[in-house]
Amino acid sequence: MTSLLEIEDLRAYYGQVQALHGLSFSLEDGSVTTLLGANGAGKTTTLRSVCNMIRSTGGIRFDGKSLAGRSTEDIVKLGIAHVPQGRGTFTRMTVEENLQLGAMTRRDARAINDDIGRMYHHFPKLEERASQQAGTLSGGEQQMLAVARALMLRPRLMLLDEPSFGLAPLVVRDLFGILQRINRDEKVTILVVEQNAQLALAIAKQAYVIETGRIVMSGEAGAVANNEDIRKSYLGY
């Protein structure tokens, strides 16, 4: 039960405004964890802090190493893949180029090609559209592409920011099924940040709830899902 990612007293700032007020949590190696919260609660801010994309203080340790002072690119090289809000797809480039970009930090050309093949196997739609401009893909397809691109890194940790955003329910279900499989088969630790709590809680082992920059609840996903307040606020019943 080792922790792959440990966050301690994380405070993050957008200019003068403080968005996170001392967050502390950890991710178990090999597990799926979900961070739930409403709009503006600080979910995206948390992920951005891990990748050092915004100013923050506090301890962030990945695989025992401190991430303080490292540039985003270096953090990525340590094995953290971040699928940002809005997917961050390179819309002007083809699907295949997007996948190649995912492997930009790797040197093993043969294995990279094999991995692209594997992605096409997992996501046949992407193979169909391999030489199409990524911007022409539908929302669901772009999300799949974003996940595939992240996987090309062969990450140890995958961070996903609201992957269900703007997607139809069936597509979201497929997506979360894929995430579950990735976690199980490729042994990738996953932190998925969501407003849409139901599916996230279904695939996660551990859950945290964040409100206005503070963690207000934590526990096993099942227990959190059954909590009455959570049900009312995030699950709608």
Partner: protein, 292 residues
């Protein structure tokens, strides 16, 4: 008919100049997503450096290579010292930066080498090309070099990892960082490459227009026009655009009455703008799909 063909050929010859300049423009556009208005001045300065080396007795091709290296480093330095600190400033402030750079380079060149015209040698000589009266060996050489450069750039962007990384960094810097690309180096690299290409353009153009600090003004404008006409995302388009602009310019001068030298520029520009109104992304530019 023969006049027409001749003018077209002559247009292609002069168009090679614009095509070469346009390549440098596109190169930097690929790196930083906007136009470097000081590109022409940087090319002019590089050409002066080459001239100075040759004056000091350095053989042409060695001076050529040295100039490329110096220009590359110069481009990187300008980016690191001037534009990197401005990275978070609004775009229009960047444009002001380019204008300032233009003024400085032009002024320093004028002071160092004064404004008298100088001869710059051509490695291709200036004999008639294959006996033709219209294209000299130098012009043929220009066209050849431009095409070779184009092929190299095309290959670079399309088939190399670093070319892909540069495109990604220019397109979406945040996403590029998230795949491990050091965006800062990519931008610096783009500047260095553009500077080197500009140097090549300058050294090819100087034998034709003669070397002096203001030699690049009109050329740069035509270079921009060519790049824009071709579609800023396409080196191939830039070259075609260059040739087309050269041809336009010549045909306009030949066939439209009352058009002296002064009106050639505005008319060529007007034509280009007309084309753009019809095809806003240029002839070969990739239309970027904009989802709200």
């Amino acid at each position: 008919m023969e006049l027409f063909v001749n003018q077209v050929l002559a247009g292609i010859a002069t168009g090679a100049i614009y095509a070469c300049m346009a390549l440098a423009v596109v190169m930097i556009y690929q790196a930083i997503d906007h136009l470097n208005f000081a590109q022409g001045e940087m090319a002019m300065f590089s050409t002066f450096i080459a001239w100075q080396l040759i004056q000091w007795g350095v053989p042409y091709w060695i001076a050529f290579v040295l100039t490329l290296a110096i220009s590359f480093v110069g481009g990187v330095l300008i980016e690191r010292l001037l534009f990197k600190p401005l990275a978070s400033a609004p775009i229009l402030t960047h444009v002001a930066g380019f204008i300032a750079l233009f003024a400085i380079i032009n002024s320093v060149a004028g002071l160092t080498w004064d404004f008298t015209i100088k001869q710059f040698p051509s490695p291709f000589g200036s004999r008639p090309f294959l006996g033709s009266q219209l294209i000299s060996t130098h012009q043929a050489g220009m066209i050849g070099v431009t095409l070779v450069l184009l092929l190299m750039l095309y290959g670079f962007f399309r088939f190399t990892r670093i070319g892909l990384a540069m495109r990604a960094a220019a397109s979406l810097p945040d996403s590029a960082r998230l795949v491990g690309i050091n965006v800062g180096w990519m931008i610096a690299l783009g500047w260095g490459m553009a500077s080197a290409i500009g140097a090549i353009a300058g050294m090819l153009i100087a034998p034709v227009v003669f070397l002096e600090p203001n030699m690049m003004g009109g050329v740069l404008l035509y270079g921009f026009a060519s790049a824009v006409l071709g579609g800023l995302t396409s080196p191939f388009g830039a070259v075609i655009g260059g040739f087309l602009v050269g041809i336009f310019e010549n045909l306009v001068g030949t066939y439209i009455p009352g058009v002296g030298n002064e009106l050639k520029l505005p008319i060529a520009l007007a034509l280009i703008v007309t084309v753009l109104v019809v095809k806003p992304n240029g002839l070969f530019g990739r239309t970027v799909v904009q989802r709200v």
